[in-house]
Amino acid sequence: MTRQRLLPVLLFAGVIILALIPLGLDPRGYEMRILCITLLFASLGQAWNIVGGLANQISLGHAAYFGIGAYTSTILLKLFSLSPWLGGVIGMILAVAFALLLSLPTARLKGHYYALATLAAGEAIRVIANSWADVTGGPVGISVPYLPDGSLWMMQFSTVLPNYYLFLAALVVICLVFWKIKSGALGYRLRAIKENEQAAEVIGVDTYRSKLIAACVSAAITAFLGTLYAQFQFFFDPDTVFGVATISVKMALIAILGGVGRLSGPLVGAAFIIPMEEMANSYFGSSAAGLSQFAYGAILVLVILLNPHGLTALFAQLRDRFTGKGGSHDRSVA
């Protein structure tokens, strides 16, 4: 039980530390950008965790929501100078609409079939974004109009420091949403679906509705993160924001590698994967571009072989080995 009292304290301390880190760094520097991207991907992993972790619906199409969010707010900003906060909300609505549409053919699918169907849907949206050049700008990409006098309302700043705090705030909010869902009635229902869908139905769980709610919440969050990303990067193209490897698989990978279904999973996963990827790029990037991806892949395989339950489980085992406790009981916690 001490663990349960300890957890909020640890999380609070973690947020304070994350809030203090930038004070020692160059606000325009490379490290700040990596930290921002790490926070963003921790949030994305957590959004994916609602569907992939709690209900075990392995989506490989979440880039669709991310790209819808990024393009919607950016196009509205370009055309009508609409604040990205409002554009982001409209992006969330569109993403939810797409999630509802996608649920019609996919909600009854399980396992590999669900993964493949969502993968295909995500790719379809990428192809549409590439070909619908009148609206999206097509493969050449789209630039967020730069406003010299940046403001919070227009989500534009002269350094990335405010972006960092925005990403941190988003991560805290999304973690709270995840925790609320996981520990609430919906969390029970999703866990029941994950562990035995037929039994869940027979004892009264509306499995279709529960999965749909989870998918919509996850889609809306992912879309808003797309808006935050657009306002941070200022330029993107369909292959980046709708990409399978760049977004969809990476979201899943971060949650799975960190510890799927756990609150701490995507946090650990992002803190591991994003800096590692950046380091691999900077070490091998100039000499042999392919090598960075190879090193990245090799490390992933190694971690998964070491512990299929993810890094958080690996840490728990190591801790238990040092403190001499039995390991398996911690599996259900956080």
Binding site: A185, Y188, R189, R191, V202, I203, V205, D206
Partner: protein
């Protein structure tokens, strides 16, 4: 007599060329404990699956409290008050015993009330001591009990028990029989599939006998034990012929 709680009329289920349940008709009244027996493969579990909506019937009518329930999704039928336990046990194996039962309680309650209700039920079925154990770590008889507790937490009017006494010791069987009786006295109606004849004869006031998907008998345990078609189905035609020439002995 009041209207039946469950009315089954001409229910048939085909799987390809196989007729698993064939034109079955019966009623169950509130407060009954009805046994459903028959040789392996007779269609008992399929019938339970049709009643709870796991599969829709190919034809025929199922009514719960007078309203058609055949072909509805299982969660809708559970909401109407009918659910079942699973023959081969289908618990949420990674979750604790308590969480398994709480999930059933969420059908009619918000989470805090569902938790209270689950604890009461665990108390009643004698599982409080293992409330925090992972369901996957339990023995088979314990799992079957958790199945019962989880189903009870949905507050069913009609509960279908599929071989919950399999692998129990005689003493444990007595406990389950007492539990089902006391639950019945509190207003739950039961249909029970069980292979252990002594337990069935003791627990049930009425038996339905299925053989090759057909309902071949419906009566009190004494009537059933003298029924020629039942004896033939269970013990073979030759035995039945021999039996017919001798005075009948009941089980």
């Amino acid at each position: 007599m009041t209207a039946p709680l469950l009315e089954v009329r001409g229910v048939t289920r085909r799987f390809g060329g196989l007729i698993a349940v064939n034109d079955v008709t019966f009623d169950v009244h509130a407060g009954e404990i009805v046994g459903l027996i028959g040789p392996n493969g007779a269609g008992k579990t399929t019938l339970f699956n049709l009643l709870t909506g796991v599969y829709p019937p190919s034809s025929g009518d199922i009514r719960l409290e007078g309203e058609a329930s055949g072909g509805l999704k299982p969660h809708k039928i559970a909401r109407r008050g009918m659910t079942k336990t699973f023959q081969n046990v289908a618990l949420f194996m990674e979750s604790s015993v308590l969480d398994n039962v709480v999930t059933g309680g969420l059908l009619n309650n918000a989470l805090p009330e569902a938790r209270d209700k689950a604890r009461q039920i665990l108390d009643r079925v004698g599982l409080s001591a293992i409330a925090d154990v992972r369901a996957g770590d339990l023995s088979f008889p314990e799992r079957a009990r958790v199945e019962v507790a989880r189903a009870l937490c949905t507050e069913p009017k009609l509960l279908l028990l599929d071989e919950v006494m399999a692998a129990l010791t005689p003493a444990e069987m007595e406990e389950v029989i007492d539990l089902v009786r006391s639950l019945r006295d509190d207003g739950t109606t039961f249909i029970v599939v069980e292979h252990h004849m002594k337990a069935v004869m003791k627990l049930c006031e009425r038996l339905l006998v299925l053989n090759f998907g057909e309902l071949i008998a419906d009566g009190t345990p004494t009537e059933i034990s003298r029924n020629d078609r039942v004896i033939e189905a269970y013990l073979g035609a030759n035995f039945a012929k021999k039996q017919a020439s001798q005075p009948v002995e009941t089980a």
